[in-house]
């Protein structure tokens, strides 16, 4: 069965409605010439799917009180272990200041205040100043709900429950002609031509058994970019959050984040035998950084010192159940709804894949190697290097989404018209999506389980060459099995199982690249830890990985990090500036 295809034209097309996509729509509308048609397309509902909404902690921005853009920048570079693209990190820190003002003054967010009425800011791990602006621990809801209502009220064309499945270039391959999508509600293909396209679909490493991102996230953006031949950087860099809820394989609750603040407030991590193990590994105990705690929990799990579901426990009760229930109201309620007593009892936890630092190679204006294609947010690589600081994620998506809107609005002025697609690529992408209709019907779900098991076991928190090689082989096998697994095509309207198949195809493609890039990085930096290469390596000769699809295979190369602003070990802070402005706890 071959569904029908509609064609559709617009001027500016935006994929995704997280912080990046919604900001891009608002900025493009201001920057573009009058009469420009702007279309925003999203795999779910506007503002509802994607991960910006799930931001708990907050938004990093230097707003004085001793803090400076320079200090924010240095924390970002040091946190990223000298791998970030320094120009991108600088633009992020610098633009965050006007972006937070825009969020409060124009978009209508209201962030928490100090008694004197100024914005309240706190310090997350890895920050040397109280920098994170927040709305309680539900910052993302405030940002996205306010952005969403602004976009809903504007004359922007909305394509909801439209998933992008292919970037279609022109016949000469020099520019992007448009994006092939599926209107999920009808099951029809829709090819949308646009002069400029922003890809802001979000990363989201959901190919791991335990993961935090929302269910719609399946790396479709990076899989499309890979097929389009674009270079992807830092693809080995998967950030794990140490404490995801663990409640069994059968429940979607498993993997969702129990917030960082629980450990900061004095929560204990206990192994299956009830032993508080963190001090066996690190003098900071539970207050060690995310990556360290994740590795320690993983090690306990490998030793078999586990709770009934195979993780460890977080225990808060010694702080007083009333205190915990008051301080972590939302988290305690969420656990209670799901049947767990966080305030007084023990809750099983496990490290969980949280954020993807890797992404498409872009410049500081979000432009890519393909004319007409722009990338922002978690789909873009470079700003975070090997590790993202808490609070830099939503800053990144909103800063660069806004920049993309400005730049697209300006660039279309010099673009004469819409471009025609390469019909062969368009046809190949349609055939790729229709592949399961010609095969014997099978079950997609068990394959996703298999993929998640192998990525967790072999390309996860702690890696070795042997395990990564095994992961590459197994992912290839799972991908091959998927290609022979059929989906019923009687009705394609809102056929979730077809979309499960397409999700799996994206996840398999990107999983292979994660394992391959991890194999290529023979040292341990930030989120990437090689047991066979535990040292961080020489900082002066730091490199980042670049992966490119070449024919049927992917080539991974190393490129030297350019220290355009500061060299390893150096600083741009004035002489005599204190190491940190944060009072010791």
């Amino acid at each position: 069965m071959r569904p029908e295809i509609d064609t559709h034209d617009t001027d500016i097309l935006i994929l995704g409605t997280g912080g990046a996509g919604l900001f891009a729509a608002l900025h493009a509308q201001k920057a573009a010439p009058e009469g420009t048609k702007i279309t925003i397309a999203v795999k779910g509902l506007i503002g509802k799917c994607g991960c910006t909404r799930m931001v708990q902690g907050g938004y990093n921005v230097a707003l004085g009180g001793g803090d400076t853009v320079e200090r924010h920048f240095m924390d970002t570079i040091r946190g990223g272990k000298w791998l970030p693209d320094q120009d991108m990190a600088w633009r992020l820190c610098e633009t965050a200041v006007t972006r937070i003002q825009e969020l409060e003054n124009e978009i209508g967010c209201f962030f928490d205040r100090n008694p004197d009425g100024s914005l309240h800011q706190k310090a997350f791990a890895g920050q040397t100043a109280d920098r994170t602006v927040h709305k309680g621990d539900l910052t993302g809801i405030e940002i996205i709900s306010r952005l969403m209502e602004q976009v809903l009220a504007r004359p922007v064309e909305k394509l909801q429950e439209h998933r992008a499945i292919g970037l279609i270039p022109t016949r000469d391959g020099r520019a992007l002609a448009g994006v092939l999508m599926i209107d999920m509600r009808t099951g029809r293909f829709r090819f949308v031509r646009a002069k400029t396209v922003l890809m802001a679909t979000g990363g989201g490493p959901t190919m791991y058994k335990y993961h935090t991102p929302s269910g719609d996230k399946t790396m479709d953006g990076l899989a499309m970019a890979l097929r389009a031949g674009l270079p992807l950087r830092d693809m080995e860099m998967v950030q794990f959050h140490p404490t995801g809820l663990l409640a069994g394989d059968h429940t979607r609750m498993t993997g969702t984040v129990l917030e960082e603040g629980l450990r900061g407030a004095g929560g204990h991590l206990l192994n299956g035998a009830g032993h508080r193990f963190m001090f066996d590994y690190d003098p900071k105990g539970e207050r060690a950084t995310r990556d360290v705690v994740s590795r320690c929990i993983y090690d306990e799990m490998r030793r078999g010192n586990t709770s009934p579901n195979g993780g460890v426990y977080i225990s808060m009760g010694h702080l007083g159940p009333e205190f915990v229930a008051e301080k972590f109201k939302g988290m305690v309620k969420r656990c209670a709804d799901c049947g767990f007593d966080l305030a007084g009892g023990r809750v099983e936890v496990v490290p969980t894949a949280h954020y993807f630092m890797g992404g498409v190679v872009v410049d500081v204006d979000t432009r890519t190697a393909l004319e007409g294609l722009y990338v922002a947010g978690e789909d873009a690589g470079g700003a975070h290097g090997s590790n993202r600081l808490g609070g830099n994620g939503v800053a990144n998506s909103t800063v660069y989404g806004g920049i993309a809107g400005d730049v697209m609005g300006a660039d279309i002025r010099s673009m004469p018209g819409l471009r025609d697609p390469d019909p062969d690529v368009l046809e190949a992408e349609i055939a790729r999506a229709c592949r399961p209709f010609g095969k014997t019907i099978g079950a997609v779900h068990p394959l996703r389980h298999k993929l998640q098991e192998t990525m967790w076991d072999n390309a996860g928190v702690m890696r070795t060459a042997d395990k990564l090689t095994k992961a590459m082989g197994q992912v290839a096998d799972i991908g091959a099995e998927l290609m022979e697994t059929g989906v019923a095509s009687d009705s394609l309207a809102f056929n979730l199982t077809w979309h499960d198949w397409l999700n799996m195809a994206s996840l398999c493609d990107v999983s292979k690249v994660i394992a391959q890039a991890a194999l290529a990085r023979e040292n341990s930096r930030g989120a990437h830890y090689r047991e066979d290469f535990p040292e961080e390596g020489d900082l002066e000769t730091s490199y980042f990985t670049v992966a490119r699809q070449e024919g049927d295979s992917v080539a991974v190369t190393r490129e030297p990090v350019k220290f355009t602003i500061v060299r390893p070990g150096g600083t741009i802070l004035p002489e005599g500036e204190p190491e940190t402005l944060v009072a010791a706890q």
């Binding site: 779910g44 509902l45 506007i46 509802k48 799917c49 994607g50 799930m54 707003l63 006007t98 972006r99 003002q101 825009e102 409060e104 003054n105 124009e106 209508g108 209201f110 928490d112 205040r113 009425g117 100024s118 709305k135 309680g136 539900l138 809801i141 405030e142 709900s145 306010r146 969403m148 209502e149 602004q150 809903l152 009220a153 509600r185 929302s214 269910g215 719609d216 409640a247 069994g248 059968h250 429940t251 979607r252 609750m253 969702t256 984040v257 579901n309 969420r334 709804d337 799901c338 049947g339 079950a443 779900h445 989906v487 019923a488 009705s491 309207a493 809102f494 056929n495 979730l496 199982t497």
Partner: protein, 244 residues
Amino acid sequence: MVAEAQNLKVSVWRGTGETGEFETFDVPSRESQTVLDVVSWIQQQADPTLTYRFACRVGMCGSCAMMVNGIPRWTCRTHVKKVSENNTLRIEPLRNMPVIKDLVADMDPFFDKWVSAEALHHPTSTRNDAITPVDATTPERQAADAGIECINCGICYAACDTVAGNPDYLGPAALQRAWTLLNDAKDGGRIAILDAVSGSGGCHNCHSMGSCTRYCPNELDPMSAIAGLKRETFRHALRRKRDA
């Protein structure tokens, strides 16, 4: 973990638009199991044609609300044990919205009304201005904060009998957002908001039956927000008359 012996009997609405019927599935009962897990199990293990919607899994996005045994709930945060009656569940798409397919409701009317209620910020300063200091302890700010955590999941809208009887009624969520803005010192749209919420589909349709407040999973109180709007629109009308 060992599955418990007794299965759940789950009736699920199947269909599109106005036509459809319930279909029953036997679903293994588990220790930690939400209604969303039940729906997912059916699609993954029993009937791959079932359609439903979810995203965040943790009660932040408001995509997965459905009617569960007649009551609108976030399925991701509703434990089966709390809602099953004699091991049975009846799951339907959200009330008061058109059905796209099976358990998926069309939320567009809900959001169209959000916009109609002027339920969006009206700026009084720009990105080039410093952030306005705000005393968070004033009664106005606390009234604004009371409704700020709404995630627009549509549960209050589905619960509302006035919406059921009057499709033009803006509904509790949009009106609560309007009330939040009226109390926000930074918002410059006071007159536009009062005009928007005092029209034919506006706040005066509310009969204070209170389902919105009773069923809000975030424990917000749209009914009181609407009562606030009624008072303000009344004063506004009096002032207009006097000034006329």
